[in-house]
């Protein structure tokens, strides 16, 4: 059952009000040295044991098409849990 992780972050140049609110809470509790940006992590699990290039391509397509919106976000990572992600992914 390969689990493929997709990580999405708001674009660096855009305001991230959630991250800003978290940084504000940190500052109020004496931990104001951090800037924070908040993103998303998705875990896609498929039956079977095989991890093919085709499967990873499909996940990348889903990541670009639905899991992220390229106007406001970037896909910053696609990797397989517990395995080395094959080259070219």
């Amino acid at each position: 059952m390969p689990t493929i992780v997709v990580e999405v972050m708001p674009k660096a140049e855009l305001l991230d009000p959630q991250g800003k609110a978290i940084a504000g809470a940190l500052a109020r509790t004496g931990r104001g040295e951090f800037q924070v940006r908040q993103g998303k992590r998705f875990e896609l699990t498929v039956p079977g044991d095989e991890l093919t290039q085709e499967l990873l391509d499909r996940v990348r397509e889903i990541a670009a098409d639905i899991l992220s919106n390229s106007v406001i976000e970037d896909v910053v990572g696609v990797h397989v849990v517990g395995r080395e992600t094959p080259a070219g992914v």
Binding site: P10, L14, L15, P17, A21, I66, N69, V71, I72
Partner: protein, 232 residues
Amino acid sequence: MAKIGVVTFPGSLDERDAQRAIRLAGAEPVALWHGDHDLQGVDAIVLPGGFSYGDYLRCGAIAAQSPLMAEVISAANAGTPVLGICNGFQMLVEAHLLPGGLIRNDHGNFIRRDQSLLVENPDTAWTNEFAKGEEIVIPLKNGEGGYIADAATLERLEGEGRVVFRYKGVNPNGSLRDIAGITNERGNVVGLMPHPEHAVEPGFGPNTRVRMRSGVDGLRFFTSALHALQAV
């Protein structure tokens, strides 16, 4: 009588108000369901406000993948007037019928206010009964209404006159260039964050200088669509 469909998604809130606005404008409202593939022969379509799918993933993103949206996209591309209000606007950008995106308000808070807007483009299917430069007031209520797009997209929208409404007085959510609503190239698809369907009936609209709750500026969105349909 012209038929205007209003699509209900799981988590839609304002579909009944939109139906009422359509009726008051003199058209027949038709309730459409997100899970169907049938637009029931409507002449125009409203995607209402609310929190479809609880705003999961991104506002409007899951609704944009629904069965009926495939039909809405085809109809929009064929010239059918489509109005996206608030969550409906978010669906239109997620469905790529309109460019740009909507992000959380810059101040981080949900906001509800009677909002002044400047009409920038009175030539769309949903604004032809306004005058260019006219100021209108309709309610605004959102948590993620900050309009953004890259510089090239903003220039194109401005150059082609596709900014339909701009916030006046207060920019309530950090939208770039005070953009409150935009249209597609053809002018049949319009999306905006404020809610015209809540300003259609005296006694229930925003306050005006004349009388409390007497604002009905929203009604002309819907009569504009009727006008556009008659002109075809």
